[in-house]
Amino acid sequence: MCYYFAMPTTVMPETIPDHQTDSKVSLEPGYLVICWDDPVNLMEYVTHVFQIVFGWEQEKAQKHMLEVHEQGKSVLVREGFERAEFYVHRLQKYTLQATMERDGK
């Protein structure tokens, strides 16, 4: 006990945020996989590609295809960098206009 009294100026350790152990979200922000409209890809084809790449049912694939067609783009999924890159690559293999954009949220 005396030991502690002999050290009246004990400095409490400073808490430094450990960026190494931060959540994965802050290390790897989300990326939106977006399909953009173009005047040439067939609507049936785009629906098919969404079904194959994401394993979606036809109804969901069609909903996103119509979003692309009517609104100019559709956000398909939000993923980490590698997964988003994987999806973009697969969509581009089918010659769809797909990109990944950092999610601002």
Binding site: N41, L42, E44, I52, E85, T95, T99, M100, E101, R102
Partner: protein
């Protein structure tokens, strides 16, 4: 071109002589889409943007080479097209159908780019060119394949 049989693995088509000729013409055009057509991202703020873009183009280039080899193998397979009363019978696996769709759509999009990326609304009756005709041929086979795949249970292949 008519689907005559489909199961979990394969689809069998019947096609006339001109259809076989046109399919070969479309496949031989591949690849047409320029290597720089695709962008990984519209944002350029990422410090690794250039490197990631380079890697994407390398991956797409490797895929083109693979597809080119698959096309050569398909076109040189003497047993692939069997003569029948209507012309030919040809069987494709569902895996082959997926890469064929990628190839055919590449020819369609590449022809559109080569034609100057015309808007479908800009001119009602543009004069036919080699590119616009190739687009039509590719669209024909694309729709035949999509309808055939839609008729059976499709699974993920790539």
């Amino acid at each position: 071109m008519k689907l005559i049989q489909a199961d979990q693995e394969n689809l069998q088509f019947e096609m006339a002589h001109p259809e076989k000729f046109l399919l070969q013409q479309v496949l031989q055009c591949y690849p047409l889409v320029p290597a720089t057509y695709h962008r990984l991202s519209k944002q350029k703020s990422d410090s690794n943007h250039e490197e990631n873009q380079r890697l994407l183009e390398e991956a797409l280039q490797a895929q083109r080479q693979e597809h080119r080899q698959q096309i050569e193998a398909l076109l040189n397979d003497a047993k692939r097209f069997e003569v029948c009363a209507a012309g030919y019978e040809v069987r494709f696996s569902r895996v082959e159908m997926e890469w064929l769709l990628q190839v055919i759509n590449d020819v369609r999009i590449g022809s559109w780019i080569a034609a100057g990326s015309p808007s479908p609304k800009a001119e009602p009756n543009p004069p036919p060119t080699k590119q616009t005709m190739m687009m039509e041929f590719a669209a024909y086979f694309e729709m035949c394949f999509l309808r055939a795949l839609d008729g059976g249970k499709s699974s993920e292949h790539d």
